[in-house]
């Protein structure tokens, strides 16, 4: 892209590559391969989800109704927006707009942190309701919703009173929450890692490292961030939107 560097090697080209183009292709391809491993990593969880959802459908429905669709929806919006700002960041880097790049990255970071914040609120609520799998798990709100505070609160806000579930099926909600925590937890872990890297990128972007034609770092991080977004695009309907009618 740079005419001044017509044939000399740009400073960010590593010695073992013949051309910068080769380096760029190689690193981008590597990033894609890494995302391939991520697909398979989440693949194991999705397999488990699919099987148990089929086996214990009523439990999955009831348990998923415990999630707050508003919070989930806001989170979806946050992530999609952050994907957009990330894409804009890539565009800024490509067109060498330093302040635009920094702004986009900061926005992405804020949106990401916002997502995690809301996730924390949701997790906290699960703790309080004893919906975290393990010793403290309780099926109270499923077998006896009429005596469950949280449910009563929801009913007061106009939601219909759920039917009590038979004990054996109610116990299977623990499976739902196991998968819920495993899947959103793994997703959140990816977010945390992504936010860490973002912080680093912002500092470097401020120093102008990515607006000199060396955009692979930003682009590759963009790929990662979009991938995390895609995972959520699937998690949201699968976990929050089971049979909402």
């Amino acid at each position: 892209m740079s005419d001044s560097h017509a044939h000399a090697h740009p400073p960010y080209q590593r010695h073992h590559f013949e051309t910068y183009e080769q380096q760029k292709e190689a690193t981008t391809f590597a990033m894609w391969l890494f995302l391939l491993t991520e697909i398979m990593f989440f693949g194991g969880l999705f397999t488990a989800y699919l099987i148990y959802r089929n086996w214990y459908y009523p439990a999955f429905v009831a348990a998923s109704h415990q999630l707050d669709i508003i919070l989930g929806g806001i989170n979806t919006l946050l992530l999609i927006t952050s994907s957009f700002t990330m894409a804009m960041g890539v565009w800024c880097a490509e067109t060498r707009k330093k302040s635009g790049l920094v702004l986009s990255l900061v926005l992405t970071l804020i949106l990401g942190i916002g997502f995690l914040g809301i996730k924390t609120v949701e997790y906290k609520e699960k703790f309080e309701k004893h919906h975290v799998p393990g010793h403290t798990f309780s099926v109270q709100s499923f077998i006896d919703p009429a005596h469950d505070e949280a449910t009563l609160k929801a009913v007061k806000q106009g939601e219909p009173m759920p039917d009590p579930m038979p004990l054996d099926m109610a116990r299977k909600t623990e499976m739902y929450f196991s998968l819920y925590f495993a899947m959103t937890g793994m997703h959140a872990l990816h977010m945390v890692i992504g936010i860490g890297i973002l912080g680093f990128l912002i500092v470097r972007a401020q120093q102008g490292a990515y607006t000199t034609g060396h955009v692979t770092m930003i682009e590759n991080f963009g790929l990662y961030w979009h991938f995390v977004d895609i995972v959520w695009i699937f998690l949201f309907p699968l976990l929050y939107l089971i049979s909402r009618h």
């Binding site: 009523p58 038979p166 054996d168």
Partner: protein
């Protein structure tokens, strides 16, 4: 193989067992398994020999001394096709033959006599329908198909009788079945072959194959006094199953008489064949297979009955061919739930 020449086959088998190459053949399926194993060994030896002959002849013919200058050859599609298709064909023959045996071993005949086996760290418990319990041993008669219904109380175990050439894993939460028909009386090894923790290597014992007469004698000797079904009946009453499952017109639960083996219409529109697995599930996870026309009111008994207890219950339900026995249960005073504990002998298997 055995179909071709029984005499030669017999001779071969004797010879191989005497020289400890194969374990004794003590079940019907064993000879078929051995025939296939024999066939596969032959094919493998053939393949191996071909490879070795090729390697040895080429190495000696074309060693540098004899053949100083190599001739460059691209390859040969014809040859390559040959050694793709021939092994593939042979493998496919093995596959089909093996699959028939596999399906046979894991599809018990309907007339098989059923023995329940519970595996736990680190022992095998066998429950005969007549109420005979065995630990780390199994007595079976010759000439009678025997179906084992296996389940584990904790981790994976695997019930293996090399002399029968059968093996099946006992896993927690679900029944697995396998069957065999013993042919030769004797005592054979019983192993646990799935690694199950510290004492895995000593979890086993003997399988005793007896003639039908001896087996009957053994049954009579070692009876515990209550058959599985009787024990099941006790559990049935002590857990008050009959409160819902009876033939009164206002019964809240379906009639269980003759339910075993029936095609049951389910609430989700499907039907299910009632087998052991179904019954076990119906007791532990009743709301998962709702019977058509009934409300999901049956409580789960998970955690209240041991695996042996469930087995007894199942055996009881299986043998319910009329509601007469349930009536009996309901009217026998000392078996009534209220008076339970006073007079009724403690039923085995209730936690």
């Amino acid at each position: 193989m055995s179909h071709i020449s029984p005499v030669i086959w017999q001779f071969l088998v004797k010879w191989m067992t005497n020289f400890a190459i194969i374990p004794p053949e003590a079940s019907k399926i064993a000879s078929e398994m051995d025939a296939l194993l024999f066939f596969m060994t032959l094919v493998s030896l053939f393949g191996l020999t071909v490879v070795i002959i090729l390697l040895v002849t080429f190495s000696s013919l074309y060693s540098r001394e004899r053949h100083p200058v190599a001739e460059q050859i691209e390859g040969s599609t014809l040859l390559e096709a040959t050694w793709t298709i021939i092994p593939l064909g042979l493998f496919l023959v093995m596959f089909v033959w093996g699959a028939t045996i596999y399906f046979r071993v894991f599809t018990p005949p309907p007339n098989a006599m059923k023995i329940y086996v519970v595996g736990k760290q680190w022992m095998w418990k066998a429950e005969h329908p007549g109420g005979q319990h065995e630990i780390n041993a199994l007595h079976v008669p010759t000439g009678q198909p025997v179906e084992l219904i296996l389940i584990s109380q904790d981790v994976f175990h695997s019930f293996s009788v090399p002399a029968f050439r059968v093996k099946r894993e006992a896993i927690p939460g679900r029944y697995n079945t396998v069957w065999f028909e013993a042919t030769a009386p004797g005592t054979y090894h019983l192993f646990c072959t799935q690694y199950c923790g510290t004492a895995h290597s000593v979890m086993g014992g003997d399988v005793v194959v007896q003639t039908p007469e001896d087996y009957q004698k053994w049954l009579a000797q070692s009876t515990s006094g209550t058959s599985l079904a009787q024990n099941g009946e006790r559990i049935f009453s002590s857990l008050s199953c009959a409160a819902c499952h009876n033939d009164r017109p206002d019964a809240r639960g379906p009639n269980l008489a003759n339910v075993y083996g029936a095609k049951l219409p389910l609430a989700n529109g499907r039907t299910a064949v009632v087998d052991d697995e179904f019954l076990r599930n119906a007791i532990l996870n009743p709301s998962q297979h709702l019977t058509e026309g009934y409300a999901p009111i049956m409580p789960t008994y998970q955690g209240q009955i041991s695996e042996e207890g469930i087995i007894s219950l199942i055996e009881y339900i299986k043998n319910l061919d009329s509601n007469y026995r349930i009536q009996q249960t309901m009217t026998t005073p000392d078996l009534l739930p209220e008076s339970h504990g006073k007079a009724a002998p403690a039923a085995q298997g209730v936690k």
